[in-house]
Symmetry: C2
Subunit: 406 residues, 2 copies
């Protein structure tokens, strides 16, 4: 007997037919003798529909009321799924986030989970029932209801799994698992059977999009094994855990990529110490996110700092920098749009210092120019022309033999 | 400054336009300096839509899960209405039933309110905010969420009004108030400005349909003044309270009527004491509701008991009586369909014993046959042919000068 958490996202429960299918998957686990807690998101486009209603009435809706509104979506799914399980002759109880004991900080719209007091869920599953819990939501210390923001249901699933000491937290999705890179773009991409938390974190942050980084980080901190599995197909999925058994000890495990990147460079007459802090504080105050930052001060060269931003933020960043030119004391700006970021990720890179060099060499051979470079212990990112992005991914996928990954 | 509760039913909040209008009504009360708590139902047909989804998945849905599902409807309305009030520059907070402290017994689908712990609502309204509360729902002692069943939102409104010691509980509806009889049927019907709890209870039970009897009874027990008001028109509505100031001391205050009534008479060879109890226990065990019951045992006449049932229950009642003929030890059944019930209601009838006689005389003059009679302290009901129902109501409306009522 295992104690498992199963999480189903919005597209897996978009219709009553899909909910009925999900109920079958759950009942199959119960029949194996497993104790099952389930986390669900709102059905398909429910959230968008509710947001449209809110927008009709108040385009500047308060976060508190948006939370109250949106959290009804998960409650509808949870009760319908409980009914569908009951229809198959098994016991099931739906719980709102607060009923399941999900305590969060006192923030609307983007709260972090502080604690899960899972006594109710525990007593339901130990007595043979399925606990179906609304993802994405919790309660603060004052009894105010909160939502967790983007990727919240993944985080709910991990938190409940930790709260009930589950053996594994299964995240059911539209995809078959985690791949070496996006299989829609690179046909030789292969599914990974296992990947480490750190690798998954880098891939998730880089836009691989299968799992929310907060959920992965939460799982890592509590050593809760995660598994990404297909909801509407057979398949073992990909397990995310601390130690990965690499039969073939590949240093690179995956390649992430992201379009719509722009580079901005700020040039100074003379270097001044406060510059970096002032620039990025100013941008942060305007809620503008910066990704890669590169600064290299050399004798004989004009001092400068370069950074990448998303295309959608580009105009606003330029506007803010212009408006603050005198405060920031820079001479001029240089920028380039139409770029993309390509990153190789792998825990094995820590002990393999030649990996970055191999990457640059492969891109040189393919005559793909590198505009920026950023490295971390388990990742190397390069900024390249957007037009060369797919070719760069393919070249690197082949170079690091990712088609043989497992 | 007054502290008021405003309740809006499903049809008053069926669209975002209607919600915006309701927000205006609320803001108008706030601008008068009043403290306002609002109770809302689910938007229009939301409940039916949710029930259809549930039925897709499980035609024998558990009441617990139906409660979890349906209560989302009110939460959507409450948060949207709070947003609409905020859009008009006023503070508002939505609360679920449990957040508003509505405690119920541990029954799903038809729970009764036990208590309202309204501290949160109170602190919201005393600080100048509008508290918007989901009707129809509460929480039991184990933290399970419950719904109140039919008319539940009216009851929620009264309970919250009592909990916060409101000066009045305004029930906004599609109608202009309580009328002497249904104005769609009798053109001379007039609106009453005031009516007593007891009269309203009799009218509500008799199908006047404006207010749920549970809500009226609850208000009566706590002496909470109720007012039925039009949501989408100007109008003072009808106030329901203990003492009614009758300038013209009319003994009859209203006439209720109901179609689709059938009479069943059970005849015995010899009277036997247990008969009444056995019959009505048997019918109650089959969830068959009986309305008027008339028994009159006389020397020289064959003993019998007559009662009225709704047309939709008629076949089932006959079937159950047939199946239990030997237990119930009766000789034969007699019945008549195509009947209607007409009732005159008025607290003044207690001290006015001639009222029933006036009613019978008016019907005799109009040659309307009376099939059954039932009386209480403030009501006389007669069963007449359905074809004569409207005429009977008109005759009685004129006889008791209800067109002059106030």
């Amino acid at each position: 007997m295992e104690r498992i958490v199963m999480k189903f996202g919005g597209s897996s429960v978009a219709t009553t037919e899909k909910i009925a299918h999900v109920a079958q998957l759950i009942v199959a686990e119960v029949k194996k003798g497993n104790e099952v807690a389930v986390i669900v998101s709102a059905m398909g486009k429910t959230t968008d529909t509710l947001l449209a209603l809110a927008n009709d009435l108040n385009p500047h809706a308060s976060k508190r009321e948006l939370d109250m509104l949106l959290m009804t979506g998960e409650q509808v799914t949870a009760s319908l799924l409980a009914l569908a399980i009951e229809a198959r002759g098994h016991k099931a109880k739906s719980f709102t986030g607060w009923q399941a004991g999900v305590r969060t900080e006192s923030v609307y719209g983007d709260a972090r989970i502080e604690d899960v007091q899972a006594a109710k869920v525990q007593s339901t599953i130990t007595s043979g029932g399925v606990a179906v819990i609304t993802g994405f939501q919790g309660i603060d210390i004052d009894g105010e209801l909160t939502t967790l923001g983007r990727g919240g249901s993944d985080t709910s699933a991990v938190a409940v799994a930790i709260g009930i000491s589950a053996t594994i937290c299964d995240i059911y999705t539209d995809v078959e698992g985690v791949f070496t890179t996006d299989p829609r773009v690179v046909s030789s991409a292969v599914q990974l059977h296992e990947i480490s938390y750190d690798e998954m974190l880098e891939l998730a942050n880089l836009g691989a999009g299968v799992l929310h980084p907060r959920a992965v980080e939460f799982a890592k901190n509590h050593q809760m094994p995660l598994r990404v599995r297909p909801a509407h197909k057979k398949g073992k999925g990909t397990t995310i855990k601390e130690e990965v058994n690499l039969e073939a000890n590949l240093s690179v495990r995956g390649i992430a990529f992201e379009q719509n990147v722009a580079r901005i460079t700020i040039m100074y007459e003379t270097p001044y110490n406060g510059s970096l802090a002032s620039i990025f504080t100013t941008l942060a105050n305007h809620h503008l996110n910066v990704d890669i930052i590169v600064q290299s001060i050399q004798q004989d060269l004009q001092p400068s700092v370069s950074f990448s931003v998303k295309k959608e933020d580009f105009d606003e960043v330029i506007h803010v920098l212009d408006a603050n030119k005198s405060n920031l004391r820079y001479q001029r700006l240089d920028f380039e749009e139409g770029l993309a970021k390509v990153s190789i990720v792998g825990s094995g890179m820590v002990s393999n210092p030649g990996v970055a060099a191999e990457m640059f060499d492969a891109l040189r051979v393919a005559t793909i120019p590198i505009k920026m470079v950023s490295t971390s212990e388990i990742k190397v990112s390069v900024v390249v022309p957007e037009s060369a992005m797919v070719e760069a991914v393919e070249v690197l996928h082949a170079k690091f033999k990712l088609h043989t990954a497992i």
